[in-house]
Structure formats: structure tokens, C-alpha cells
Symmetry: C2
Subunit: 396 residues, 2 copies
């Protein structure tokens, strides 16, 4: 029997070839650059109600294969989904699991304990797993990550001897940088044992033991005596859960001294209301990549920071920087597929490949954002000692 | 009969003298710099449950007089209120009147049509009635207002020929500046006839008729065809009312072209929840100064901008700049009390004196804030053409 493509696909002009399990081929343009190989006949029925999540799941489960550039495949997958005009809802989007210490430890371990060697394949040398800062757009990833560290430290007006708390310190790149380049004393915490082990190894290797202390610690257990001059949190509030953001921001408030600065750098949702993520892309992320991750809108994180007593002084979107960062990560991973497969296996590799290419696309399209939110814990009289302008960030 | 002071006041150390209607005097420190003259005996009972609103209303109604520096009197009034440990609630704070064209026109007229000559007594030459930008803190008010205009135009990346919409243009200072200094075409709107008349006069006087068009127009009547390259709104969203912020932000979205920038500069509330304004100071403002004004929190304005389709790219707090601006306005008004009284009468003068000194104090203490919120209407593909960094704002 000759298989029919869904009618919505007929007449589409795309550099795409669809090849079915039985060898039938459909081409949507003169020079196909991407081929979708449908291996499972039952997928045809599901494709009548498509979503990026459906394409993603089918790829992870091996029900379809992709040939050609993965990032181009993501873009074409989105155009296909759009062509249908109606999308599967992101069913998981409203479901929230109450976050507690145990759930958070499990969720963090799932993602960050995967394999240090795997992350080393495609991250920069310092293993910075967050949005880089491209000052001109011509920088290497290595340089852009160092520039990001500078940007964060400058926004924090970090001074020699400052006691800096790094909440969610990852592999410790920023902690070591702040100690080495700015003379800070750093206390960093993570819930990932793999990250902690490698981070501590590198602190030793760089002889920074007297300046950098790293611990496996939940944010709920942070000291609340205002001992820190500054607090930095990078890629962390996405894991906290909406319901716990008041607790999280109160913990940051309690940790920093009066007059101290708190930087929250993280991924934010596009809309403040609970509209589903565009084209059903959120389910894939929740199911395979960041279990129990919950992106707040900038308004949500701002509200909780304020209500905890922290005054918002500076916000900057780095959305297009993150698109660029993720494109580079994706390219680097695509260049090391065999090594990656040996380290984490076929199933996980499919997840990470699609996640990196897909998130690059999502940031470029504006489905998600990245905001650096700087806040101050005011002095008792309501004032603070921040410079009158931000010119010092740009060394004028 | 010898009058007793409320017990909470006994033992207070303040540079304050209280003088009663019958000549009795109480001193709270060795060298009183401020004297509160209680003219109305019935005020004594009310002072047992004090608030800044009570002091303010009593001053406006002439039930008490203040001798000494008005700004010091505000500070001492706050310390007195604190000393009682319990404060009258800000009863008006939760009451909202539905904003429509008619109410908005009346509210704006109440404040801004008061008397151009009065505002000229204490504003800078360009009559800029919003937070100035003090780059070093040493600038004159005149200079700091010009620098604020530059800061806004730079954030908007204003280019020669850009069509700029100025929503709530006041006396047209920014509109003329943008035309003169940046070569923009400007369309400005206000609901104040007094402002419009003087603003147009000055456009003529400066020969800017071909570049600056000013109209008496409600924001609800703005063209929605994306004709403007940039939009600026200074000191405007405070008048819109919370319930109308979705409509207001949709109007801005509809007015600006794809890829265009929208700057909202305005006063924001300290907390995102509906806690009353500190020490009951909000009632005075609502009753006497800004009828039907409603300060949104930064989170609220951010949420509505996003949900209207505008992406937030840059936020800056200028809170301490506004404290400084208001201190200077207050000092300038205090230096011209006789002329001011001749222009607006005793009752209004008491309101404006206390409002300026009180708001300077409120900004300094952090009870209210000032945020510049820059947003972009993204291009169809989700991208935008903003520079990668903000260094261009600081001419590096």
C-alpha cells in the first residue's frame, strides 16, 4: 500500500526528504539537506497532531532517524509543526512536583552527574555550563566564558577580600575565577557529587585551597547570618521550583550582609502567564533533560527578590548570547559523537544532541530568555553604595 | 490643665520642639531644629495613632505648623511615627477607581494643569518633571536633566530620522531634545492642556515645528499600525491604573514597529504584594497629590510588557537619583515660597511642599523606586538588532 502523507504537508517547500520504513521517499524541495527517516509505521498516525515534543521523543526512542545538520533538522521540524497549524499541548507544563531536598538532589544528579568526561567534550576548558558573553560576536567560546565571568564579577563590584557565595557552583569555574582574578574568598555549593569532585580537584591543582571552599549543600542549609559580602547564582533558580522561590530568595537575603549584592543569572520564561511553551517543546525538556525544572518569568523572580527584601537595581537580557553559546556547544558535541556515545550511551546522547540544538533554536526564536538580575540588600537606612551609573562595568 | 504628651514620646531624643496652642512647649533634645506647632487641640487625641498621612493632612489643613527645614521635619515625623510602634493603615491603598478616558483626563488635569508658572519656579529650564540622572553626583539639576535625556536616547539607540513616540510628553523637554540633539521626528501626547500650550510655544520658539508634533491625546487613541521606530514613556505608567496596564502595554506594542524599542521610565512600588505603603504615607499622595495614581511593582510592569509581546532587555534602578532630584526641587521651592503662594494659594502650596520633601525621603528610604525598563518588539523571526552589550551607552 502506498502511504499518504498528511495533507498539511502537501505543497510545503522545505529542504527536506522524508524516507519511510519501506523505502518510499517524499521530497519537499529541490535540494534536500535534511532527511527524516521514519522507522516506525505507527508514527504516521501520531504525526497528524505534531509537536516538537513528538519529534523529539520519537528521535530519542529511535522511532525516527535524522540525517543532515541537527540544528537544521530542528528548524525544519518547527516549520513542519507550524504547517499543521494546530499543535499538541505541552501537557506536562502545568504539572508540578513539590520540590524538597530529596527531589532536588535526584533531579540535579540526573542531569549533572551524567559524566564529567562527556561535558568536557563540548564545554570550554573551565567547563562553564551557562550562557557566555560575546562582547563583539567574534570571540571564541573560551574567551566569551571568561568575559562572562568578568561581567558577573564587575556587576557584583567584587573586591579583594570579598566573601562571595556561589549558589550552584557547578564545576567551580566562576569560584576559581573570582578567587584568582578578583582576590575573593569563595564559598560554593552544589548538589552534584560529580561536579564537586572535579571542581575540588581543580581548586587543588590551581593552589586555590585557601581561597575557595566547595561543599555539597542544599540552598536551604545556607548560613543565614549575613556573612557574605556578595552572592552569585548562575543557572540555579530554574531548578528551585516556583513554589519554593520565596524560600530561595529569603535564603539569599539571609546569607548576604546589609549593603551586599546578589546576582541571579538564569533562564526565564517568555510570558508571565501559564501559556504552554511554543510548539510543545517544553515536555521534551521536562521528560528527558531537566526533570522538575521550572522556568520563572522575569516578573516572578523579580517579585520574590523584592518581597524577600532585595532591591532590583539592574537587569540585562543575554538571550541572543545564549543562542550563540548553545550553537557552539551543539557543534562541538556533533564533532565528537563517537566519543560521546562511548561515554553516555546512545539513548542519552540522542537526548543531549537534540536538547542542545533545540535550545539554541528556542533562544534564537525568543521562546525562552536569559536574564541577569542584580539586586542589593539595602542598608538599614534604605540606601546602598552602588555607583550612580553602570559606566564602571564598561571601564570608561 | 496641663496637657500630657502620648507616653510613647517620652524619653525620645530628637532635635524637636513641640509647641501647643496654649504656649506649652516640650523639647526632645538639647538643640531643637524643628518645631511642630499644634494649633488644634483635637489633634492631640489623633496623634495617639499617628501616621505620616495624619501629620501631612494636619499640615495641609493648617491644624499644625512646621518651623525649620521641611525635609528635616519629614524625617522627624517619620521617627515620631516609628516611636509609636503601630501605625494607622493606609486605608485608601486598596481602593481603586476604574480608569477611563474621563477619569484620567480629570486626574491629569488636577496635577499638571495647576500652574505652569508655579512649576517653572522650581523645575529646571526645560521643565523636566521626572527623575534626573546624576553621573557623578556633582552635576547641577539642569545638567542632570540633560544627561537623563541623553541616557534615554542612548538606551533607545535613537538615530537621525527615527520616528519617536513620546507618551506623556509633559512640557515637551524630551521631545525637543530628541529632535534637536538626535535628529528624531517626534510625536508627543499629553492630557494636560497647560502642558501642551507651553510645550507647543517652546517648539515654535526653537523652530522645531517640522520635527515635533504634540497633541492632546489619550494613549488609548494611539495609532496601532506600528508606525513608530521607538517609543518613550516617562512618568506615565503610574497614572494608568493596574487594571489598565494590559491595555496600555498592548497600545505601546501596537504603536511600535517590529524590531523597535520601547522605554518605560517610572516610579515603582517596593513590594509586589499589596502591603500598605510604609508609615501610611500613601493616603496623603492619593488624596492630595496624585488622585487615582497607582504604582505598579517592577514585576507587574514587566509581566504586562512581556505578555503584550515586548521583550525586556534592560532594567535600571535610579532610585537614589530621584531622591537627589526631589531634594533639589524641594530646596528650590522652599526658596520661592512667597511667589509660589501667590501663584497657587496657601492650601496647594502646603500640599506641594510636603509632597516634594516627603517623596525625597521616601526614595531615599527605599519605600518607592524608579525603574527604567527597556523592551524590544522582536522581529518576526524572534531576533532583534540591539548591540550585544550596553557598552555603547557609556561610549567606550
Amino acid at each position: 500500500m502506498y502511504t499518504q502523507l498528511p495533507s498539511a504537508l502537501q505543497g510545503l517547500q522545505l529542504p527536506l526528504r522524508i524516507r519511510l520504513w519501506d523505502g518510499q521517499q517524499f521530497e519537499f524541495g529541490a535540494e534536500p539537506r535534511v532527511t527524516i527517516l521514519v522507522k516506525d509505521p505507527t508514527l504516521m498516525a501520531e504525526l497528524a497532531r505534531p509537536s516538537l515534543d513528538l519529534f523529539g521523543s520519537a528521535f530519542v526512542e529511535g522511532r525516527l532517524e535524522l540525517e543532515g545538520s541537527l540544528s537544521e533538522a530542528v528548524q525544519i521540524g518547527d516549520q513542519l509543526t507550524q504547517a499543521f497549524g494546530h499543535f499538541a499541548q505541552d501537557d506536562d507544563d502545568g504539572k508540578r512536583t513539590a520540590h524538597d531536598r530529596s527531589l532536588d538532589a535526584t533531579s540535579i544528579s540526573y542531569h549533572y552527574d551524567l559524566s564529567n568526561a562527556f561535558y568536557q567534550l563540548w564545554l570550554d576548558r573551565e567547563m562553564v555550563y551557562s550562557c557566555a558573553y560575546f562582547k563583539t560576536g567574534q570571540e571564541s567560546l573560551e574567551q566569551a566564558q571568561q568575559d562572562k565571568f568578568h561581567h558577573l564579577c564587575r556587576k557584583l563590584r567584587l573586591q579583594p577580600g570579598d566573601y562571595l557565595l556561589d549558589v550552584g557552583c557547578g564545576w567551580g569555574g566562576l569560584a576559581r575565577f573570582a578567587a584568582r582574578e578578583y582576590g575573593a574568598q569563595v564559598f560554593g555549593i552544589t548538589l552534584s557529587r560529580e561536579q564537586l569532585a572535579l571542581a575540588r580537584e581543580r581548586v587543588e591543582a590551581q593552589g586555590l585551597q585557601d581561597q575557595v571552599e566547595l561543599q555539597l549543600l542544599d540552598y536551604r542549609d545556607l548560613p543565614q547570618d549575613g556573612r557574605f559580602d556578595k552572592v552569585v547564582s548562575v543557572g540555579m533558580f530554574e531548578h528551585v521550583g516556583h513554589a519554593n522561590l520565596p524560600l530561595y530568595t529569603r535564603c539569599l537575603f539571609g546569607a548576604v550582609k546589609e549593603g551586599g549584592l546578589v546576582m541571579n543569572h538564569g533562564i526565564t520564561a517568555r510570558h508571565s502567564d501559564s501559556r504552554p511553551v511554543e510548539r510543545g517543546a517544553g515536555t521534551f525538556i521536562h521528560r528527558y533533560v531537566f526533570p522538575n525544572g521550572e522556568l520563572p518569568h522575569l516578573a516572578m523572580i523579580s517579585a520574590h527578590l523584592s518581597d524577600a527584601g532585595l532591591e532590583i537595581v539592574d537587569v540585562e537580557s543575554l538571550r541572543l548570547h545564549y543562542a550563540r553559546t548553545l550553537e557552539q556547544w551543539s557543534e562541538r558535541l556533533e564533532a565528537h559523537l563517537d566519543e560521546a556515545k562511548a561515554l553516555i550511551g546512545e539513548h542519552s546522547l540522542r537526548i543531549w544532541r537534540l536538547y542542545l540544538a533545540g535550545c539554541a533554536y528556542a533562544f534564537a526564536r525568543g521562546w525562552i530568555n536569559l536574564h541577569q538580575v542584580l539586586a542589593v540588600r539595602p542598608l538599614a537606612d534604605g540606601s546602598h553604595h552602588l555607583p550612580l551609573t553602570r559606566a564602571d562595568l564598561y571601564r570608561c
